[in-house]
């Protein structure tokens, strides 16, 4: 099972309310978020509006506010909230024994074949 999951290290690397980036060679950079109620999410680090780096936004509840033009993006679904429309791919993530795992196939999906 673990084989399908990519271990990206301990949860303590990301303080609550913050995000860290995870470049994928030949693919799109990912952003891994840690919310203030201690949930973890991973998204492609590209705002559906104009590609803003979501990892740099302010995290509140299960939402990140894009640093460029303040769209609110749901960390769970990757969808733009409110009146804005657009969606960014999410990467299935699980936390086990204090470590963060991303679903491999989803991580490599972005890689140009």
């Amino acid at each position: 099972m673990i084989g399908e999951w990519l271990d990206i290290g301990p949860v303590t690397q990301i303080a609550p309310g913050n995000a860290r980036t995870l470049p994928v060679r030949g693919g799109e950079e990912l952003a891994v978020f840690h919310t203030l109620d201690n949930r973890f999410y991973a998204l492609v680090n590209r705002c559906p509006h104009k590609g803003g780096p979501l990892s740099q936004g302010i995290v509140h509840g299960g939402v990140v506010t894009c640093p460029l033009h303040n769209w609110n993006i749901s960390l769970k679904t990757g969808e733009a909230l409110g009146d804005d429309e657009g969606c960014v791919p999410t990467i299935p993530l699980r936390v086990d024994a204090g470590r963060i795992y991303l679903l491999r196939e989803a991580v490599v999906r972005g890689i140009a074949a």
């Binding site: 303080a15 203030l36 302010i58 640093p67």
Partner: protein, 831 residues
């Protein structure tokens, strides 16, 4: 009938099948009870228990440790029970081998028992973090009675204890040991206690209460080693170097399903022993229940699910299979005097709605999460009376749309005619019902005040004080207004609130922060009854600034509550790279600085460098990873951050002045540099720009700056509130002074007044438009020495503001904000 379970038989026929149970704990024994209840004659039961005692209620070990219960109080199945039901209990003799081939188990004593059906209920083992010293005498876990006895023995001797782990278990251990007279420190890896059950708000309340009770709580603390002195534990060292002395160390960091036997016996296991809906393992003759199992990917650490598992198991084992479908769990902390309840999911973002109620006076925080008209989660602190009710709604998935508005006030309020309309609910209250807890104002008094002419919330607040303090009853007062005044009620008040998270305006918040000496964002949100659990992108930065301004040198800046530019100390660009603007004092520079900038541009091949409108250079296209290195290079040439990104002092624009210019009346350049050196680094409600022109020709555009100086023969004209941006505004003349010293003094005083009174994200221009220049001058010249005192406050806070943020980052601070987690390389993936 379930696929796995092969053995078929005429149901109920007493066959004396041999059922062997491994694990004499809560699940194992309950499973047997459930089977007996259905078909007492069905099995001949033998139970192996590693613990040398009968089955007891493990969750009650906490009260035993705390001295609130004795072991006898918590026994579930007495010796008599075993005999009466013809059960053979083999206690103190753990099973060490399972031979599925011959359907036999072997115990440590060498004793062999064969079975027709085997039940594995081995529970979990405490997880022990692999640090040096973990095996020292004096290091204990918290799982069974022996552990409790060890802790009690240690407590006898007194001294201090460290509990590693701020979850349910750890906090209950800490509580017990505190009551037993030990000085307890809790070390928790995460920044929030019980983070799996609580959110930031509830975690903060819990932490402050435990600290009030004398426990030391270290969150975000990572254990590096357990220290030893003459063969016994003597303390704990954290990764950050801190050392905490301890005569006892309790490890309560988590549990691992105990799958040792099952794995060895070749049963399918992941984190736990894999079971189907009937608690049957990969071997049809072997069942498993309790914490040791994994059902549909889930492992449980609470008893409620076990009861449900045991029912499904018994139904199946007596040929009336029903099936277990998984459990929704809820948690309560068993620490006397502290009420904490948590259930379900409270992080789901999409389409969910948080309903939050806070009562600072009673230390209450309630949060329920609603999605598609159903309750999906609840966190309660301080008042958990409705926990069971919420949990019930949650499990049943009941539609709550018509009690939606009353939901947060609890069952008593919501049910019984469920007045969906809050007005109706308030109208229904008796006259002496208390509306405002803080100021003890009854409904009668509020209505009286309204009838006496207080026809707006603010009027009510000022006349009878209701909702004047914490504001939690604002909703109810507004309901009373509309009930009492009907059509005449002007509707909710006009004061612009900070954001949708609160009913308070900026001024209220600033006033209360100072009045109640608040010290952190969660504290403000609790005491001022924020309607969201952790605020939003509008209020977090505002509160962070207000606290920073109110507590210079004391308040610890909250990076995550800052906009990207201020968190990264550079300006983010549309492509996600950053621009870097080093400070050039008064627009002056020199070859050394220019060389350093040129070198940076080449070294990091910055695609563009530009002269800004603020008389300095802007280097574009720097990657976030490279920023610290760039800053190090610029620091080396003596340059510091220009704060081109901050709600802070931006630039002090100057002209050449009397040093060179034939019209110059004073040294405008020199004064500009002095002013910038006094003011740089200060955080403000919004960005702040200054200019000094050497004569009324005003080449530095002083009259569109937040603070502008125009030099004249007789001294210095001081101008304020200018803006050259979206809405151009020409400055107002504040006054004229004779010396540079006075010019600096007034500049400092004006800035401090703006810092203390303006709303967050309000430039000086709109601020003065709102309060009027008269207000500003009144404030400045109220008493002969107000200018001096304001200037003093500014200079005091500047002591803490004027260390270059770039230098700190260059030296490695907050490196996680700049470095990637890791890089994923396809090679690694293809394996």
């Amino acid at each position: 009938m379930n696929a796995h379970s092969g053995i078929e038989m005429a149901s109920g026929a007493p066959t004396g099948e041999r059922l062997v149970v491994i694990g004499n704990g809560m699940a194992g024994c309950r499973a047997v009870e459930e089977i007996l209840a259905r078909d007492p004659a069905r099995y001949a039961v033998t139970i192996f228990g590693a613990e040398p005692r009968v089955n007891y209620n493990r969750i009650m070990l906490s009260p035993v440790l705390a001295g609130e219960k004795s072991f006898d109080d918590i026994v579930i199945n007495t010796a008599e029970w075993y005999t009466a039901n013809g059960i053979e209990l083999i206690a103190g003799d753990p099973v060490i081998h399972v031979d599925r081939q011959h359907q036999q188990v072997v115990a440590r004593s060498g004793r062999v028992e064969s079975y027709d059906r085997l039940l594995i209920a081995t529970g979990s083992d405490p997880f022990v973090i692999p640090v040096p010293g973990k095996d020292l005498p004096g290091v204990v876990t918290f799982r069974d009675l022996d552990d409790v006895d060890k802790m009690l023995a240690a407590a006898e001797r007194g001294g201090s204890a460290v509990v590693i782990g701020g979850g349910l278990l750890g906090l209950e251990a800490a509580h017990g040991l505190t009551l037993r007279g030990m000085q307890v420190t809790v070390i928790h890896l995460m920044p929030t206690l019980m983070e799996r059950q609580l959110d930031e708000a509830a975690g903060w309340l819990l932490k402050s209460e435990l600290e009030r009770r004398g426990q030391m709580i270290l969150t975000g603390a990572d254990t590096e080693a357990i220290l030893e002195r003459d063969g016994h534990v003597s303390g704990v060292r954290l990764k950050d170097g801190r050392e905490i002395a301890a005569d006892l160390v309790v490890m309560a960091v988590g549990i691992r399903p105990n799958t040792t036997l099952a794995k060895a016996a070749g049963l399918e296991c992941e984190r736990g022993i894999m079971v189907d809906d009937h608690m049957v393992t990969s071997d049809p003759a072997v069942f498993a229940v309790g914490e040791c199992v994994q059902h549909q990917g889930q492992c449980y650490g609470l008893v409620a699910p076990l009861w449900e598992m045991c029912r499904a198991l018994a139904d199946h084992a007596t040929d009336a299979p029903t099936g277990y479908t998984g459990s929704v769990t809820s948690t309560k902390l068993k620490v006397s005097g502290i009420e904490v309840f948590s259930a379900g999911d409270f992080s789901d973002a999409e389409g969910t709605e948080d309903i939050v109620m806070r009562d600072a006076a009673r230390g209450v925080y309630k949060r329920v999460v609603v999605k598609d008209d159903k309750l999906i989660g609840a966190v309660l602190y301080g008042d958990t009376a409705d926990g069971t009710w919420y949990f019930d709604l949650l499990k049943k998935g009941e539609d709550v749309s018509d009690i939606r508005d009353a939901l947060i006030f609890g069952q008593a309020y919501a049910s019984g005619g469920a007045p969906a309309d809050p007005n109706a609910a308030v109208a229904a209250l008796s006259d002496d019902a208390e509306i405002c807890g803080c100021n003890g104002v009854s409904k009668g008094k509020v209505v009286a005040a309204i009838m006496a002419g207080a026809c707006s919330l603010d009027a009510v607040r000022s006349t009878c004080k209701a909702s004047a303090s914490c504001g939690s009853c604002t909703g109810q007062v507004e309901s009373l207004l509309s009930v009492a005044l009907g059509a005449d009620y002007g509707g909710a008040r006009t004061v612009k609130t900070v954001c949708k998270c609160t009913s308070f305006g900026h001024d209220d918040v600033r006033r209360e922060i100072v009045a109640q000496a608040m010290k952190s964002i969660p504290e403000v949100m609790q005491k001022l009854h924020w309607s969201t659990p952790d605020g939003c992108a509008s209020c977090r930065p505002a509160l962070n600034y207000y606290l920073l301004c109110a507590l210079p040198g004391e308040y610890e800046d909250d990076q995550k509550s800052r906009f990207v530019n201020e968190r990264m100390h550079a300006n983010i660009q549309k492509d996600g790279t950053y621009s870097v603007v080093p400070r050039m004092w008064g627009g002056l520079t020199n070859p050394r600085e220019l060389r350093a900038i040129a070198d940076v541009v080449e070294k990091y091949d910055a695609p563009m460098i530009k002269v800004t409108g603020g008389q300095r250079l802007d280097i574009f296209g720097i990657k976030k990873e490279d920023l610290p290195a760039v800053w190090a290079d610029l620091n080396a040439a003596g340059m510091v951050s220009g704060h081109a990104y901050g709600k802070s002092l931006r630039t002090v624009k100057t002209c050449v002045g009397s040093e060179w210019c034939r019209f110059g009346t004073q040294d405008s350049t020199g004064l500009g540099v002095k002013i910038e050196q006094m003011t740089w680094g200060s955080w403000m409600p919004h960005k702040f720009k200054i200019a000094v022109s050497g004569c009324p020709r005003n080449c530095a555009e002083s009259t569109i700056k937040d603070f502008g100086v125009i030099c004249v023969d007789s001294g210095y004209e001081l101008h304020v509130g200018g803006n050259g941006g979206i809405k151009v505004r020409v400055t107002d003349l504040l006054g004229k002074v004779a010396t540079e010293e006075e010019a600096l003094e007034y500049c400092a005083a004006f800035i401090q007044l703006y810092r203390e009174q303006a709303h967050y994200l309000e430039r000086t221009a709109p601020w003065i438009e709102r309060v009027g220049l008269g207000h500003v001058t009144d404030q400045l010249f109220a008493e002969p020495d107000t200018v001096r005192r304001l200037a003093l406050r500014f200079r005091y806070s500047q002591q803490f503001m004027q260390d270059d943020p770039w230098a700190k980052r260059a030296a490695g601070a907050d490196s996680e904000l700049h470095q990637h987690l890791a890089e994923v390389r396809p090679l690694e993936l293809a394996q």
